[in-house]
């Protein structure tokens, strides 16, 4: 079933359509890739889905029935959506462990102030950090990590939320092969556990390897969709990337 | 009575225009709220006081010195303090706090040198030429204020839109990094911008000094008004700053019509908060 559906999604920046009437459906439990040349609107789409940017037209439906079109980011989260950022946004001056702990605690103000800290939270945080291999660095300041470690920390942060839907915006960019393997296996593990993953990426090899279905965007519109092998061979897709 | 209110509003608007223009200019280049901008006005006013009244120089000479001095001090502060911080990519909070320090220190220095008492710049209080307009009075100084504001605005528009320097200023305002990449010596140009902006503020302080007088804390309140005007008109927007200034002048003066004049500052800020809620980007579309 379609866990996320967009209907004629529109986003304008100063009159320019960053997203132009996009209607796509994300299948539950699959790894869906979003590809397209730079400026095609992929990150804008992720921002719209997560509530970071306001929608100018159209709508988004989750789980077949819940409209999340005008929701604020923290409200979107309650529908089980979590994400990473293309330009890695961590809590720089906080420790690695705190970066994770801060997203597993009570979201309710009173609860976070007065509630007892369940021991589970520590375990969840530790598991997430171990999965990306950052447990030994738990007390280092986030600002002091290497680029690859920062990206892994961002991913660990999403894992700790145990959400249903994961939006990863170029998680592999700039990573060395060993780290790429870690992220790859995380994506595959999420799928194995029935989670839904949306992957914005440029690396076609990884797209072929990981994605069940891909959408190709160009200038804010949907250019093509389907299984990776069939879509990546299409002429319009290649032309979009190479420029006309 | 109504006409006096209108005249007062226009005079206030003209003064705020000068402050807002200077502020917008500098903000466009440096992109942070310089709390010390108001001190340039104070420096201008006190410089004229010192050179004209204490040293006895001719008023026009003192005014020129005052304006230039304000510009130089602004320029110097930028080079000494804000530029190194900008180079270090310091956050806006750091710059704001630093400017807070500059303002606090300089204001106190002026108070030490000249005492906190109110002083006037005009030689003969009470014997100024006064004109009547529709039942309201306007002094010669106030007419000069109007002329000055008009001239400065015209001059600034000419500078920004008709000269190469102006083009560079607008480019930097738009995107400093890009301007630097295409080869502009942005630091040098920003230095000039700061000089001009501070000089304009100095002029504002001098005119206020001739109109009502000077005191060490005058800079902060002038700055508030100029910033409110700039924000209301849309920060960085020259025409917006003018519009905002006059709007503020009217709101302030009509706002205190039935209540004591001491509520002016509060009225101004309520106005600001109202505008920020209704139109966060200012009245004029960018």
């Amino acid at each position: 079933m379609k866990i996320i559906e967009t209907k004629n999604l529109v986003k304008l920046f100063d009159g320019v359509h960053a997203v132009d009437g996009l209607s796509i459906g994300i299948e539950k439990g699959q790894v869906t890739g979003i590809i397209g040349p730079n400026g095609s609107g992929k990150t804008t789409l992720i921002d719209l889905l997560s509530g970071v940017l306001e929608i100018d037209g159209g709508g988004i439906v989750v789980n077949g029935a819940d409209k999340i079109t005008r929701l604020l980011p923290h409200q979107v989260f309650s529908y089980g959506i979590t994400r990473t950022f293309q330009n890695v946004r961590l809590f720089e001056q906080m420790k690695v462990l705190d970066n994770i702990m801060v997203v597993v605690t009570e979201r309710n103000v009173c609860g976070s102030l007065f509630g007892r800290h369940p021991d589970d939270n520590h375990k969840i945080a530790a598991d997430a950090l171990r999965q990306v291999g950052l447990w030994e660095n738990k007390n280092r300041r986030a600002a002091n990590l290497s680029y690859g470690q920062r990206k892994l920390l961002e991913i660990a942060r999403t894992l700790a939320t145990q959400a249903e839907i994961y939006l990863f915006d170029e998680p592999f960019a700039g990573l060395f092969p060993e780290m790429r393997k870690i992220v790859s296996s995380i994506v595959q593990d999420l799928k194995r556990r029935g989670k839904t993953v949306i992957l914005v990426e440029h690396d076609m090899g990884l797209i072929r390897e990981l994605c069940d279905h891909i959408f190709v965007m160009d200038e804010g519109k949907l250019l093509a969709e389907g299984k990776p092998e069939s879509v990546l061979g299409k002429r319009e897709v290649i032309e979009a990337y190479l420029g006309r | 009575m109504l006409w006096q209110l209108i005249i007062n509003s226009i005079i206030a608007g003209a003064i705020y225009t000068l402050v807002a223009l200077g502020f917008n200019l500098v903000y466009g280049a440096t992109k942070f709220f310089n709390l010390a901008h108001g001190i340039m006005a104070t420096i201008g006013g006190y410089a004229v006081f010192y050179f004209a009244k204490t040293l006895g120089l001719d008023a026009s000479v003192a005014i020129i010195i005052g304006v230039v001095l304000a510009g130089v001090v602004g320029f110097g502060l930028d080079k000494l303090i804000y530029l190194p911080l900008r180079r270090r990519k310091a956050s806006n909070m750091v710059l704001l706090v630093a400017s807070l320090g500059v303002m606090t220190a300089l204001q106190a220095v002026i108070a030490i040198l000249f005492s906190s008492r109110y002083k006037t710049l005009s030689q003969n209080i009470g014997t100024q030429k006064v004109f009547t307009v529709f039942g309201g009075t306007i002094t010669q100084t106030q007419i000069v204020i109007l002329l000055a504001a008009a001239l400065v605005m015209a001059g600034l528009v000419a500078l920004l839109y008709k000269t190469r320097f102006g083009k560079a200023v607008r480019a930097i305002s738009d995107d400093e990094e890009v301007a630097r990449i295409i080869g502009m010596d942005t630091n040098k140009i920003i230095g000039y911008i700061v000089f001009v902006g501070s000089a304009i503020a100095g002029l504002a302080g001098i005119l206020v000094g001739f109109d009502v007088g000077i005191e060490p804390t005058m800079g902060l309140s002038l700055l508030f008004k100029g910033v409110i005007a700039a924000i209301v008109g849309g920060v960085g927007n020259i025409y917006g700053g003018v519009l905002g200034s006059f709007l503020l002048g009217f709101v302030e003066n009509f706002g205190i019509w039935k209540i004591s004049g001491e509520w002016k500052d509060a009225v101004a800020f309520v106005f600001l908060i109202a505008i920020l809620i209704l139109r966060p980007r200012g009245i004029m579309k960018n």
Partner: protein, 288 residues
């Protein structure tokens, strides 16, 4: 000795103000330059109640806290629409408005003449006119507030505040309603400032609007920047330093009429130098 007690009471007052402001500025990352307004609300509530009604000190304290909490909630909601520099400017504006009210609502506040004759607290027959006893009272409040502040700072709530400071959007996407969190800490901080105000009013016996202007807010800001943001111990050090400093200067022997101004010069210089060379303050770990 009396003089030292006086200094200690001043120190306690400003330490409370510093610690409470640090929660907003250092932890949540909101540059608020209006703390003196809530300090003033607490002070004036106590002053008015103690001189014009039969309400005692402790009753006025609670009412002062309530007043500050209510006002801060309202203005906090208004200010939440503002971002970055505009927020700071909005707080400055609010402080100016409150000062305007204190100055001009003569029937309530006495205007620039202020309110004289504020009495000391009454409790179990203890003589609080004795300054040492008052110092003990003030210290108890200081300790209570520090404990409360530490509790908040070290709680998961405090951690969310820090995340808001680092990247508000990034923590929002993880399900945290940042507006609520910011409002709550703003109100808590304002309530603490009101306590300092009540204490100070009762101690000094006479208050007028001039002590609650924007420059007072800037002074409190200087305290916490000097001590180090997001570091409560630092704020205490900062308060100590900035209270003791003028006294040291008195020994240097500036003529009294420029002494106050010299203090301002030094505060200003301290801020400038800190920003240039040590943004994390004396003992801070958070670099502005």
């Amino acid at each position: 000795m009396e003089y030292l007690i006086h200094l200690a009471i001043l120190f306690a007052t400003y330490a409370i103000l510093g610690v409470s402001l640090n929660l907003i500025v250092g932890y949540a990352g909101l540059l608020s330059v209006t703390h003196a307004a809530f300090y003033g609300i607490g002070a004036y509530t106590t002053a008015i109640l103690l001189t014009k009604t039969g309400v005692g000190f402790f009753g006025s304290l609670i009412l002062g806290i309530a007043a500050a909490a209510a006002v801060s909630l309202l203005i906090g909601i208004v200010l939440s629409r503002f971002k970055g520099d505009y927020y700071a400017l909005g707080t400055l504006g609010f402080n100016t408005i409150v000062f305007g009210i204190l100055l001009n609502w003569k029937n309530l506040t006495g205007g620039s003449l202020g309110i004289p004759g504020i009495s000391r607290p009454e409790l179990f027959g203890i003589n609080f006119a004795n300054n040492f006893n008052f110092l003990v009272l003030a210290s108890i409040f200081l300790v209570l507030i520090c404990l409360a502040a530490r509790f908040v700072a070290n709680s998961p709530f405090g951690r969310v505040l820090k995340a808001i400071r680092e990247d508000e959007t990034a923590i929002a996407v993880f399900g945290y309603n940042t507006l609520y969190f910011k409002l709550v800490i703003f109100v808590i901080s304002a309530a603490m400032a009101a306590v300092a105000g009540s204490l100070f009013a009762s101690y000094i016996a006479f208050i007028d609007p001039s002590g609650f202007r924007v420059d007072e807010s800037m002074f409190i800001l200087a305290i916490i920047i000097l001590g180090g943001l997001a570091n409560l111990r630092g704020s205490i050090f900062g308060a100590l330093f900035l209270i003791v400093l003028p006294e040291i200067m008195r020994f240097v022997g500036f003529p009294s009429n420029i002494e106050a101004q010299m203090r301002q010069v030094i505060y200003g210089l301290i801020l400038i130098l800190l920003m240039l060379y040590r943004p994390q303050g004396l003992v801070g770990e958070y670099k502005l």
